[in-house]
C-alpha cells in the first residue's frame, strides 16, 4: 500500500503477531482495524518485573497488493484462504473463465 501522507511505499512488519505497515520514507505507521487494541492488549500483558522477551522473529513480508485489495493483506489473521481448506467456491473459480 501507499503511505496516505507522503505516498511512498509502505512495508508490512510483524510485531508480536500484529501486522504493522510502516512507510519507507516518513516512517509513519498504519494500523488496521483492531490492531491498536491488539497492541494495547499485548502491552497490558507485560509484567513490569518480567525480563525482556527476545524479539519476535521477523515475518516474511507479504508481496505488495493494490490499494483496493482486501484489508487483511499481510496478516496471518486475514484472507479467505485460511488454513488448509480452500473455499469450495474459490476452488471452482480457479478453473473457470
Amino acid at each position: 500500500m501507499q503511505c496516505p501522507k507522503c505516498h511512498a511505499a509502505m512495508h508490512t512488519y510483524n510485531r508480536n503477531g500484529v501486522q504493522i505497515e510502516q512507510c519507507s520514507n516518513c516512517r509513519g505507521i498504519f494500523l488496521d482495524y483492531g490492531e491498536l487494541e491488539a497492541l494495547t492488549r499485548l502491552e497490558s500483558q507485560w509484567s513490569p518485573a518480567a525480563p525482556p522477551a527476545p524479539p519476535a522473529p521477523q515475518a516474511y513480508p507479504a508481496p505488495p497488493a493494490p490499494a483496493w485489495g482486501a484489508p487483511q493483506h499481510g496478516g496471518h489473521h486475514g484472507g479467505h484462504y485460511g488454513g488448509h481448506h480452500r473455499h469450495k467456491s474459490f476452488g471452482h473459480m480457479l478453473f473457470s473463465s
Binding site: A62, P66, A67, W68, A70, Y81, S89, G91, F95
Partner: protein, 310 residues
Amino acid sequence: MSPHPSLAARVRQAVHPGRDLPGCACETVVLADRPDATVVRHGSLVGKAHAPGTDPEALAARLRVAARLPGVLLPPVATAPEGQPRPHTLWPYGTPVDPGDPDAAPWEAAGTLLARLHRTPAPPGLPPMRGPAKAADAVHRLRRTVGPGHPATAPILAAWSTLAPWARAEAPLPASALCHGDLHLGQLVRHPAPDGPWHLIDVDDLGTGVPAWDLARPAAWYACGLLPPDEWARFLGAYRSAGGPAVPADGDPWPALDVPARALTVQTAASSVAKAAAEDRSLDEVEQALVDACARMGRLPGAQAPNPPT
C-alpha cells in the same frame, strides 16, 4: 452420449482411421459442455466445438500460433478448423490440473509458460486478444440479467467505470505482446499425458495485447484475499525469472497489474453475481470478497488509470 454427435464421430475417426465408426469399444467422454465450448475426448485425442459464430479465419490464425510454439502451447492436430456454425478442432489429450487438488497447481509452470509466450513475437495478422471483450461481456450480462435491483450491481458498475477504455473493450487494445487472453488453472495440461511437461491450452482468446492481462486473474485473486501470498509469489516469481515482460524485473508490479487486475476482479464479480442471482441465492464469502474489492475501487481517488507502458 455426446451432446455433439458429429464432433464425437470426428474424434473417433481421427483416433481409429479407416475403421467402421460403430466398431470401437473406447469410451467417448464429454470434458466440457458450455455455450462457448464443447470438448469431448476419445482415446488419445480431444475434439473441441468452438463457440457459435467463431470467426474461422481468426481461429485458424490462433491455431497456427499454437502449432508454432509446441513448448508453450499444446499443438493442434491440424491447423484448419472444420465445420459451421461451430468450428471443430482436434488436439492431443493432455492431463489437466486436478480440480480436487488445487494445492498442487503448477504456479511456476504457469508463470514460466506465460513469460515464454509473451516473449514470442506475434505473427502479423493475429487478432487482438479477447480479454477485455470477455470482461465487457460479463458486465453486459450483469446489466441485462441482474440489473440495478441487486445490491452488488452498483459497486461492480462503479468499479468498471474506473477502468481505462481499452480495458473495457471501448478503445483499441495497446498491442505490445502475444497474450493468452484467458488464463486460469483449467488452461494447463501435461502433454504427453500423464506426466509430460505443462502446456497452455485454449487459444480462442489468444492474440496481441497487454501481457499483464494474463497475470491479472491470479493477481486479482491475490488482491481480493483469495489466493494465498505464497502461491501468488511463486507464480509472479517464476514469470519474472523467465524474463516475462509484463512487469518490471523487480520492485512493485502493481503499476502494471492494476488496470487488468481491476478488470478481472470486475469480470469475476459480475459473473459470480449473475450466477448467484440465476440460482436465487445470496453471495457466498468468496463472491462477496470480489464485490467488496469493486466497492473499494469505486471509492479510490484518481481511479481513471493511464494506459500501461507499451
